[in-house]
């Protein structure tokens, strides 16, 4: 590993994700631009261009997460709710757990694993949307998630949170996320990557920016460097490619998948105004999405409508603060104080 690579890794480690409050700086800029030049335009939430891509994207992610579910409900794919004692619902905020699994993409003998985990928080007034992503290699205590009521702690065994999915499906993952965070998770949505190619095509492709070209015979994909729109087949190769990119680690691949899915959901959120394409997307999604039974159509509609009123600047994206595990280099430990602060804000709806 050369010095620049080491330095980049250090940089990655020091980096922080932009907080929702960064949008205040946009307002500062707009104030300045309104204060100069010709007669000013009327200002206010609606006076601005709402095309703030970065900010809109997060709302779109949340919107899409709840949008893809209805198709499934018609098919009766259901996620069971967790067993045992659960965190109390403290307010009217809604928390949705979204898991991306590898479904049939894994080989037959391996159960599906959850690769992408997002907790989407909609504030009680529906004015803010926050996406918290949870690394799948985060070590969590193993708590019972099927059958008898959980809650036993003691010198708990730990395992990767992503493995909870293999243990007992979405309900198990849901349970352990609640135990870890103390956050009442109202709904859960599961998206299977195997329907991925059709979903991308239905969206008309998804844009990515590649820092380096990709040529990966194993994933059957060749892509040039730079900004481009990938179709379903290319996208599948891109998220599968492993050996020709970065350090060849699975972590690198998962990260790419996560970014891609975020970009995809962003695009899906933009389809609200394009019913034909939205229908195609939902059709493709229907095969690969499951949700819990309480996430029914009226609930979805209520959520979608309330999100319509959100204004730019009210979205945030966070990741559960983690550090490499001291005991197992393949796992991650959460950074307890920082993570607790984040979870408390989700619980109290003060993000």
């Amino acid at each position: 590993m050369d010095d620049l690579t080491m330095l980049r890794a250090l940089g990655d480690e020091l980096e922080h994700e932009p907080p929702a409050t960064l949008a205040n700086q946009r307002r500062r800029l707009l104030d300045a631009s309104n204060g100069t030049g010709r007669p000013r335009r009327p200002r206010g939430p609606r006076g601005l261009s709402v095309r703030g891509m970065a900010m809109l994207g997060l709302a779109a992610a949340a919107t899409a997460a709840v949008l893809v579910a209805p198709a499934v409900l018609l098919r009766g794919h259901e996620v069971a709710t967790p067993v045992g004692a659960r965190p109390v619902k403290a307010n009217e905020a809604i928390n949705v757990l979204v898991a991306g699994t590898d479904g049939q993409m894994g080989s037959g003998r391996n159960p599906a694993r959850a690769d992408v985990l997002l907790l989407v928080h909609l504030s009680a007034d529906r004015g803010r949307v926050t996406v918290v992503s949870v690394p799948r290699d985060l070590a969590v205590p193993v708590v019972p998630c099927a059958g008898s009521a959980g809650g036993a702690s003691g010198p708990a065994k730990t395992e990767r949170i992503g493995a909870s999915f293999a243990d007992g499906g979405m309900a198990c993952l849901w349970k352990r996320v609640e135990v870890l965070t103390g956050i009442r998770v109202d709904h859960a949505v599961e998206v299977d990557f195997s329907g991925f190619k059709d979903m991308v095509d239905a969206l008309g492709g998804v844009e990515v920016t590649l820092p380096t070209p990709i040529d990966d015979p194993r994933a059957k994909v060749r892509l040039p460097k730079g900004r481009q729109v990938l179709d379903g087949g290319q996208a599948l190769g891109y998220v599968r490619a492993r050996y020709s990119l970065g350090d060849g680690s699975d972590l690198g691949r998962i990260g790419r998948q996560q970014r891609f899915v975020e970009a995809m959901l962003r695009k899906a959120g933009g389809l609200m105004s394009d019913p034909a394409r939205l229908a195609a997307f939902l059709g493709a999604a229907a095969k690969s999405v499951k949700a819990d039974s309480k996430l029914d159509l009226p609930t979805l509609r209520a959520i979608a409508e309330s999100l319509d009123g959100t204004v730019p600047g009210s979205f945030g994206s966070f990741r559960v603060p983690v550090r490499p595990s001291a005991s197992d280099p393949g796992m991650l430990d959460w950074d307890r104080p920082a993570a607790q602060r984040l979870f408390a804000k989700v619980r109290d709806d003060t993000l």
Binding site: L7, I254, Q258, V322, L332
Partner: protein
């Protein structure tokens, strides 16, 4: 079953078009914010931490907005220009920056790590060398460090870094080489495994 649709055009508006548009329609400038604020925030959060980053990014765009008529429209990509402003503003916080690296140097394995999963593998390795790296960064002259970090953390090319700082490309190269030599030396001292292959 779903028909494959052709990809939408990727043409979009280039940065210099936005800058030119903002000459007559100032609010058009906010589109540049939407494009680059997150990226600049991440960059500044690396050098100065999250406390300072938000305000500094806001200030960067205010400065850029004030100077928008001086933007050279021959350049389609505004990133080097914005990074140049960021670099100047970061230099006002040189004490904060040095203190940040020195703290890392002293306390390996501590500090808040907030990172996407895909970076973790590299981080595990970097963790071991963090004190050495941080020490090297703290010890670099500011202008060498600016070049090194624009390239390593800002992902700029040599030409772009030159444009950012208003210096010739040859100067970028010599500063970069000097900085990298020092970083390698610091790494070599503590961890011979990581000396140049």
């Amino acid at each position: 079953m779903v028909p494959t649709m052709t990809a939408p055009p990727t043409t979009g508006t280039c940065d210099h078009d936005l800058v030119r548009e903002s000459w007559t329609r100032p609010e058009a400038f906010s589109a540049l914010f939407d494009r680059y604020a997150d990226m600049l925030y991440r960059y500044v959060s690396r050098r100065l931490g999250p406390e300072v980053a938000e305000d500094l990014v806001g200030e960067t765009f205010l400065v850029a907005f004030d100077r928008r008529r001086r933007y050279d429209l021959a350049y389609t990509d505004a990133r080097p220009w914005l990074f140049g402003i960021v670099t100047k503003l970061v230099s006002r916080h040189h004490r904060t920056e040095a203190a940040r690296y020195r703290a890392l140097q002293r306390s390996p394995g501590e500090g808040v790590v907030e990172s996407p999963a895909d970076r973790v593998a590299a981080e595990v390795t970097a963790l071991a060398c963090r004190p050495a790296l941080a020490g090297a960064l703290a010890g670099l002259p500011a202008r060498d460090r600016d070049v090194l970090l624009l390239i390593a953390w800002g992902d700029l090319s040599y030409e772009e870094a030159a444009r950012s700082l208003g210096i010739p490309v040859g100067t970028v190269r010599s500063r970069l080489n000097r900085a990298r030599r020092k970083v390698r030396a610091a790494l070599g001292e503590t961890n011979p495994m990581h000396e140049e292959e």
